[in-house]
């Protein structure tokens, strides 16, 4: 028995050693916590799924890119911090908040339920259905559509009800892309679909269509941060206003979505 114990102690020590090495490595890799090293910019870690084009995704060279990613980078810069996007699976996003990253910039809609768990910044973009028409159709607002207009919508979507309030001439399609194609080729007068989906597809499919009027039902998308950190919240909101004011925001919109999605 005595010898068995010795053996245990040895193994335990080995295990401890391994843990030490592991945590030691962690210290090397972690951002310097030393307050003396003040000239190193603070790191702003923010998470997104990395699987949600065009907001966050990996390009051909496996670089993490997208609207959310660049907004985060722009905010970090405005706050004088170093940006570090942390791609994390969607379902796991809330778990790492406050420990693995300071914020979620992951196209998260502000809902009552989520507001109980985190604080949200001002919306950094808005989404929701908009009316899309051909660029040269002369239609400039929702009011220009009549009961005679043909509207194409995604089958069994919430947009169907919105379209039905305007006209009975509905055409149903299996995907937004198909509906938008029909609009582009003139076989429908309008399409109602999510503004970003519409803008992105118009760009990708090279369709000559535009969105008119306001968002019909507004979804506000915010930056989630841990509860009870008003300082950080204010800082982020200030940075958001800054990048909107100096044109950075619009440039990112143009790059990834093809139109202003701030909804301001």
């Amino acid at each position: 028995m005595i010898f068995q114990k010795k053996w245990m102690v040895l193994l335990l020590a080995l295990l401890m050693g391994v843990v030490l090495v592991v945590t030691g490595c962690a210290d090397d890799a972690a951002p310097p916590a030393d307050p003396g090293a003040a000239e190193e910019p603070e790191v702003f870690r923010y998470a997104m799924s990395g699987a949600y084009q065009p907001f966050s995704y990996f390009d051909e060279n496996d670089n993490l890119v997208g609207f959310d990613v660049e907004i985060g980078a722009a905010l970090a810069e405005a706050m004088g911090m170093e940006a570090e996007p942390v791609p994390t699976p969607w379902q796991a996003l809330p778990m790492g908040l406050g420990t693995r990253y300071e914020a979620i910039i992951g196209s998260m809609t502000i809902t009552e339920e989520r507001l109980q768990k985190f604080d949200f910044s001002d919306p950094y973009y808005r989404s929701g259905p908009k009316v899309f028409v051909q660029a040269d159709s002369g239609i400039t607002s929702v009011e220009d559509l009549t009961a005679d207009s043909t509207i194409a919508v995604l089958m069994e979507s919430v947009y169907e009800d919105l379209a039905a309030e305007i006209t009975d001439n509905l055409k149903f399609y299996e995907s937004d892309m198909l509906a938008l194609r029909e609009l582009g080729s003139g076989r429908a007068d309008a399409v109602i679909t999510d503004q970003i989906v519409g803008l992105t597809n118009a760009r990708e499919l090279d369709l000559d269509i535009i969105a008119v009027g306001d968002i019909l039902i507004v979804e506000e998308i915010g930056i989630a941060i841990p509860k009870g950190n008003p300082e950080l919240l204010a800082r982020i909101n200030r940075a958001l206003a800054d990048i909107k004011a100096d044109g950075t925001y619009l440039a990112i919109c143009g790059k990834y979505v093809g139109g202003d999605i701030s909804g301001d």
Partner: protein, 224 residues
């Protein structure tokens, strides 16, 4: 698209994604190797606790093995990466490796225990009767023999560990499966192809590894 065209298309994807998947393969191997080396240490430790005559040690080992074998690996990975983050803020690589190590450790502990107990009691007695300590007898006499018997099940466990390392994707590790997921997200039309490619990489690794284990086994058999 005919079969030939499809094959050429697939081949094109395979070649184009080669560099990225190669990088991912290296990460997969690093994860697996780290996890299994740690897993062997953990496994050996708990095997010792398990075969010891001390009740408390037995209970500790039983609890560990039961808990780890009774819960899904993904839960353990999340538990270490997210759950322990406030107290053990280790990078994703180490969190994933540690989780995989702790997980595999439970199975390796059982493999070692089985291997050690399959060695005739007379071996330990002969060693002790020569004046060796328990520790020395374990190291020089029992473990070398046990280890040899453990090679086939260990090889098996290593293959499982290699494939399980794909779950590290869920804590941000850009290993093979993660790269396939990213590509499938970026080009949904090619999702099937990219998952197939990832599968091929795993398959190749497993085939090579199986071959190496067989070789090792037969080499160690020579002096038996």
């Amino acid at each position: 698209m005919g079969i030939v065209e499809y094959f050429i298309y697939f081949y094109g994807l395979l070649v184009n994604s080669g560099p990225i998947f190669t990088q991912a393969t290296i990460l997969t191997l690093r994860l697996t190797a780290t996890a299994l080396l740690l897993g062997i240490v953990i496994g050996l430790f708990f095997a010792m606790l398990k075969i010891s005559k001390n009740r408390v040690f037995n209970c500790i080992a039983d609890a560990y093995i039961t808990i780890i074998r009774g819960t899904p690996l993904i839960v353990q990975i999340f538990w270490i990466y997210f759950g322990l983050a406030p107290i053990l803020d280790i990078p994703a690589f180490w969190a994933a490796s540690l989780a995989l190590a702790v997980h595999n450790g439970a199975y390796i502990a059982e493999i070692f225990r089985g291997g050690i107990q399959s060695i005739n009691r007379g071996q330990m007695e002969a060693a002790l009767s020569l004046g060796m300590t328990y520790l020395l007898a374990m190291r020089r006499i029992i473990l070398p023999q046990a280890f040899k018997r453990c090679i086939p099940p260990l090889g098996n466990q290593f293959i499982i560990g290699l494939k399980d390392s794909s779950l590290a994707a869920f804590v941000t590790m850009p290993e093979l499966f993660m790269i396939a997921m990213r590509r499938a997200n970026r080009w949904p039309g090619d999702a099937l192809e990219y998952y197939t490619i990832a599968g091929l990489y795993y398959l190749a690794l497993v085939v090579v590894f199986t071959f190496l284990v067989k070789k090792l086994e037969s080499r160690l058999d020579v002096d038996k």
